[in-house]
Amino acid sequence: MIIRRQKSQIEKWLLKMPLMISCRDFENFIIQYLEDELPWNKRFIINTHLKVCKECRDYLDAYRLSMAATKGALAQEELPEVPEDLVKAILAATQNGKND
């Protein structure tokens, strides 16, 4: 907790330097950063922030991890059995449609 507070104070001080942004500013650019939509100068600023901020580096890595884990978990889901009742209901509904 004390280390966190000191780190926060250092970051506050760093923000007074040119090209430095806060973690909250970084947050607003994450999507564009990940999709490579930022111009080189903004990208440089984001990369500089990531070099000095372990929290944002960890955040970004865990953010990417959750995207990859989600994709992996959904891709590994087994195909369900189609309930026989559903098959019958669909066939019955299409027959009704024909008779209408």
Binding site: L15, S22, C23, I31, D58, A62, L65, S66, T70, I90
Partner: protein
């Protein structure tokens, strides 16, 4: 007439799948067993997709049924530029979005508490990560896959579906924006919030077993 149109299309664009021309021709001609054939062939995949989008089996089954009814009604307008399954899948996505919009009134789950935390100096508050495991490592652990799936389903509908269509199904921002009648900027904001929320829900799962 429908079959001739379909063959014309294939002559013009080429058949995307060899067997597909026969299946579609049988469907248009109303051949006995043809429709049941596509339920048996594609039903499980469509049901899985609908369940992943909607988060529960009854709504998913309803949308799959609606999808097949649309296919039955509109098969003669299928032009064959796309694979039959892709065409059906697009119909299913629309049915799921319609269902999701209808139940949005009752879905007031807030995502605010799942967004990143910052202190008074706008400095990020993040757990102490000794290391970041790989997705493969996470999914190899017992029960983790189930926890990841539960986390996805716990997101509010409008966030989960944007995340699902963008990150899993690979639609681009413009396509998703059109589906939701929202601006691309609004889709990006929701996508980022959905990813952030999912990350926060999954943090305890990811941190489990890592040496602190």
């Amino acid at each position: 007439m429908g079959v001739i149109k379909l063959i014309d299309t294939y002559v013009k664009y080429g058949s995307p799948v060899d067997d597909q021309i026969n299946i579609v021709a049988d469907l248009i001609a109303g051949k006995k067993g043809a429709f049941e054939g596509i339920i048996r062939q594609y039903g499980a995949r469509l049901l899985l997709k609908a369940t992943q989008m909607l988060g529960n089996a009854p709504d998913a089954e309803e949308c799959v049924q609606e999808c097949y009814l649309q296919v039955h009604r509109n098969i003669s307008s299928f032009r064959g530029e796309a694979n039959l399954y892709s065409w059906m899948y697009r119909i299913l996505v629309n049915a799921c979005l319609k269902k999701m919009k209808a139940r949005a009134v009752n879905n007031s789950t807030s995502i605010e508490s799942l967004l990143p935390d910052f202190d008074e100096n706008n400095c990020r508050i993040e757990p102490n990560w000794p290391s970041i495991p790989s997705a493969e490592e996470i999914l190899r652990r017992n029960h983790t896959k189930r926890q990841v799936l539960a986390a996805i389903h716990s997101l509010p509908d409008s966030y989960r579906d944007i995340l699902y269509l963008r990150d899993i199904e690979g639609y681009n921002t413009a396509e998703v924006a059109q589906m939701f009648s929202l601006s691309e900027g609004a889709i990006k904001v929701r996508l980022h919030r959905a990813r952030s929320a999912l990350k926060k829900i999954l943090e305890p799962v990811f941190l489990e077993g890592l040496e602190q």
